[in-house]
Amino acid sequence: MKLNRIGSAAAVLTVAALALTACGSDSPTASAGTGASATGATSGAVSGTLTGSGASSQKSAMEAWKAGFEAANAGTMVQYSPDGSGAGRKAFLAGGAQFAGSDAYLKDAEIEASKQVCGPEGAFNVPAYVSPIAVAFNLPGVESLNLDAPTIAKIFKLEITKWNDPAIAAGNPGVTLPDTAITVVHRNDESGTTENFVDYLAAAAKDVWTYDVSGDWPKELASENAKGTSGVVATTTGTEGAITYADHSAVGKLGTVNVKVGSDYTKISSEAAAKAVEAATPVAGRGTLDMSLDLKRDSTEAGTYPIILVSYHVFCSTYKDQSTVDLVKAFGEYVLSDAGQKEAATSAGNAPLSAKMSEAATKSVESIKVGS
């Protein structure tokens, strides 16, 4: 019994620690909507608590923004719960969060629904976080490979099963490709990274990739998988001949694929990703503030890297009182500013928005005003 007691004491401690950490992540939603404690109408000085919820892809960037914003504006607090894009949009539409982070922009029906909490002009999306998704592989001695979209699609569709397949060799003269089997590793949790990657395959290789685009990997394709970005990267790193897709900042020493765009191969980089965002076209039929983007995955413009994840911030066009408006605007502008984008890029390794894009987005945020 005595021996057991030590063990159970340790177990109790573990449980207590778990309970404490659980509390830590719960609290943000508790104080939703307590943004109105401004001490005066002096413009510029903002204070209060800003509550957001949404995409986990923005998590590390959001931590940088939160730190930078709170340091610059004493008396403010930003709380963001990375519950997932869907949960974030839902919380926002229910009035539980003042802004949402989402890997997909609000659909028309959601904009319509947002009028309940945001007033007659509804909510709008601005791009805030851009991250290039690398197609990464583990082949000792090979740092990069040139592949076009149909070849990538065929690899992930398990139609090309050896690294020395002629289709791979064709774009890579001079590279010695081994006779190793290709092991495809995909995410087994639902993810915005998966959604953007398969969206690229479906757009740029539509003859090969005929599956539905969603955050889940197609069920028909049985291959290796792992949980989260860290999981797929670790599994790929540990398996010779493996290939996966993951946030560029996370792939470590793995080789990366240069994707064929037009007649050239584009190496993955923040600049190439930002260029792809710039080349995107606004979604038609949206309000003047909205900056939802239709990414041109099958673009042929040289120098763009089409496999990117664009995550949005969703704001109301009007909020109920001035102090909330000031707070939201200050935060939104900070995120889009040069400083904010650089801060995020340093800690999250994403691609900063281009100057043109952030200027346009800032204009949208600036027009947030008080409404009923």
């Binding site: 019994m1 021996l3 057991n4 030590i6 063990g7 159970s8 340790a10 177990a11 401690l13 573990t14 778990l18 986990s56 519950d83 997932g84 894009s85 869907g86 949960a87 839902k90 089997a181 092991t183 590793v185 087994n188 949790d189 639902e190 993810s191 915005g192 955050g215 889940d216 069920k219 049985a222 291959s223 290796e224 998988n225 792992a226 949980k227 999981g231 670790a234 599994t235 540990g238 398996t239 001949g241 493996a242």
Partner: protein
Amino acid sequence: MTTNALRRQGSKGQAGDKIFSGAALGAGILILITLFAVAIFLLIQALPTFSANPALITGGEGFVSYIFPIVIGTVIAAGIALLIATPVGIAVALFISHYAPRKLAAGLGYVIDLLAAIPSVIYGAWGYLVLAPALVPAYQWLAENLGFIPIFAGPASQTGKTILTAGIVLAVMVLPIITSLSREIFLQTPKLHEEAALALGATRWEMINMSVLPFARPGIVSAVMLGLGRALGETMAVALVLSTGGLIPSLIKSGNQTIAAEIALNFPEAFGLRLSELIAAGLVLFVITLAVNLIARAIIARHKEFSGAN
């Protein structure tokens, strides 16, 4: 007088008695309420799944065909875990209680208890970073030499992230539960029984076989059932270790999925009907665990009469 003193003491003790029985009753009721509340929560949240159009359920063929493969996957993983952990756990417990020198036994018992305190995410990380790659050659050997048996059908996984690896990780996780409980039970074997067996000329193994094991049987069963509960409900370790997929008989290919891992992997981004599906899956797991526990109770109750454990 003495009787007076006794009565006075008795009346004094009555208040304490009442408080204590009240507290115990409260605790008992509380646990029932908790269980009931969890069941109600699961049921209410899961309801939309059962009334939804079957085509809208993940997989497109209704809830039963969605849940069936992962129920089987859960059972397979837990089964592998118990198949490995039960004999090892009992052997370790016997070693500690009846074979090891006193000092070694104390140290070993402590280490085993410590295993139970390691968080499951650590087991998971160890499973997919260390154990899975290490098992790849073994799986390849199995596929080449025993591939004709469906459970070892090849080609073996290149990453080692299979249901067999997940089962082995689970086995390590349930081992301390089975060992700790069994050890306590073995130590409670009446000394007289043991000495009587030895006096009759039994060897140590015969003594264990004749007096310790029969006495401990219900205890072992409940230890195994407790371990099974942990194996069935284990989330993080399986989510990290297993390369998920559809239901397949081969244990050394990537594939299969467990309920707990399915929930953990999909919950963060789920909403609407998908969320209710996952909660319905949780309800199924809840029912399975409840059934397992009821069966265990029944087994223990039946064996009690013969063993003299009561």
